[in-house]
């Protein structure tokens, strides 16, 4: 085994588009980074900002949020709500002292398996460059 740094990345994927897209990527045998741990949610609008904050405080190095493209949400407007929450989270990350690149939001549809593979690889590369989350060493939380 190599000693290469493997970041811990959490992905919140919406059930209807991104999770299906990830499934398709698997069926198509596309390579997906092993550092990504996927959590399926019913809609990107279901991603409570507390999930993300807790993830970072528990030591996640990066968090990906994925949902349907604007206008394609299974619940009409869940992804628009997610987009505003994402903006809010970026502002809170600033005070938390984390780089805002550690969190990202992507629209990935059910047919976009190559896009899914591409954005997850790109994100992993970015996190590898940033290094591990400094919160991991902190005991006072």
């Amino acid at each position: 085994m190599s000693n290469e740094y493997v970041p811990r990345i959490i992905g919140f994927l919406c059930n209807w588009c991104s999770y299906t897209g990830a499934d398709l990527a698997g069926t198509a045998r596309l390579k997906i980074p092993a550092s990504l741990k996927v959590i399926r949610v019913m809609c990107s609008g279901r991603i409570d900002p507390l999930f993300v904050l807790k993830g970072f405080l528990k030591g996640a190095d990066g968090i990906m949020m994925m949902g349907c493209h604007p206008g394609d949400c299974h619940y009409q407007k869940g992804n628009y709500n997610a987009r505003r929450r994402y903006v809010m989270l970026q502002n809170i990350l600033k005070i938390l002292g984390l780089e805002k690149e550690r969190i990202g939001l992507w629209w990935v549809s059910a047919s976009e398996a190559p896009r899914y593979a591409q954005v997850t690889h790109e994100f992993e590369e970015k996190i590898k460059k940033l290094g591990s989350n400094p919160i991991q060493e902190e005991i006072f939380l």
Partner: protein, 370 residues
């Protein structure tokens, strides 16, 4: 230029005269305002329905025992008050109340809103120290000169929204040199004008924003810059955040005092976010040590994610903190950048929705497409 009621009495007496007039001669059945509790300067918000009781009212007393927005929401929660009530409250309290109304936590119906151009309030600590009486003369002096009193709450020293939005009547205090002799009450709405008809005093006209209020605004902007700089000297980032909150007792007093935190059961007091015994074990295995009870920083960040967009910067959170953490200073940094992002000023317009739960299709379009 708006109409103004001028009463040839000190501002305190003049306002009390008007309140008494409203109670006696108009359909107002109750006055909601600060009432004197003892001679040391302790006050409490009260609903007064008799003229005798009203004699103890001291609506302009520079203390905020609780954010009045929160109190008003308590008695208009299920439905509007049955009888018309006149409420005297500070601009930030009014803004907090508007934010609560937007969240269906109160009703503006049957309320006559009286506010003031606000010089700020003293920290509650000055009451505990017994210094309140000593503070009063310099307070009025600095108000006359539109200066910042250095003993005020930190948030009040840097508050730029001291002119109320949506008030029916506004008591002018900032920069009024003849405060002791004349009470000027601006009538901002037709409702306010109707209620002031036949009131003691003369109807004249007056500007809401004067050279003096501009001066105070400038001074407070500068003070705000200074406070932010002082805070940033401590350093930003995670280490600094942990340091700032290291004294936190997790009493959650900031959330109980916050007018925007209206939930009957807070997420952070419920079992939802409780640590399971297993998570203690796994975290100890990873880190070799753990603060108990855990979750301090999570509580503050989580609360921030819930209320920061509607934060009116009233400073109650800093004021009630038993270990003097500058909660409001930390929160206002996030709330201001968020409010800027969504182009939203809490409590300015009751028709404007809270930014979460609404959206515009054409905003932030570049997000998610990269």
């Amino acid at each position: 230029m708006s109409k103004a009621l001028k009463i040839k009495k000190g501002v305190d007496k003049g306002l009390n005269d008007l309140l008494e007039f409203l109670l006696k001669s108009k359909d107002i059945k109750g006055i909601f305002a600060l009432k004197k509790m003892n001679e040391n300067g302790a006050v409490s918000y009260s609903l007064m329905t008799s003229v005798d009781e009203l004699k103890k009212a001291t609506p302009l007393h520079p203390l905020m025992p609780v954010n009045a927005g929160k109190v008003l929401s308590i008695f208009s929660l299920k439905e509007a008050t049955k009888e018309p009530v006149a409420a005297v409250l500070r601009p930030c309290e009014l803004r907090a109340f508007i934010e609560l109304v937007k969240r269906n936590q109160g009703s503006l119906d049957n309320l006559l809103l009286i506010s003031l151009t606000c010089g700020g309030v003293y920290p509650l600590q000055s009451l505990a120290d017994g210094n309140m009486k000593k503070h009063l003369p310099p307070y009025w002096e600095s108000l006359k000169k539109a200066e910042i009193n250095p003993d005020l709450r930190v948030t009040c020293q840097s508050c730029e929204h001291f002119i109320p939005y949506l008030a029916d009547m506004t008591v002018a205090t900032v920069g009024k040199k003849d405060l002791d002799k004349e009470c000027t009450i601006l009538l901002n709405t037709t409702k306010g004008e109707d209620y002031a008809k036949d009131a003691p005093g003369n109807i004249g006209s007056e500007e809401m924003e004067t050279a003096e209020t501009e001066k105070l605004k400038k001074r407070r902007e500068e003070q705000n810059k200074k406070i932010v700089e002082d805070f940033e000297k401590e350093g930003l980032g995670f280490k600094a955040l942990v340091k700032t909150f290291s004294a936190c007792l997790a009493c959650h007093g900031c959330s109980y005092a916050c007018p925007i935190c209206y939930c009957t059961l807070c997420d952070f007091d419920s079992k939802t976010l409780e640590y399971s015994p297993q998570s203690f074990v796994s975290e100890l295995e990873q880190k070799g040590g753990l603060k108990i009870p855990p979750g301090n920083i999570f509580f503050h960040l989580g609360r921030m994610s819930h209320m920061a967009v509607s934060c009116v910067n009233c400073g109650m959170c800093s004021d009630v903190c038993p270990v003097n953490i500058p909660v409001a200073t930390v929160f206002s940094r996030v709330s201001l950048s968020l409010q800027d992002e969504f182009n939203y000023l809490p409590g300015k317009d009751v028709e404007e929705s809270v930014p979460y739960g609404v959206y515009k299709e054409e905003e932030f379009v570049e997000i998610g497409e990269q």
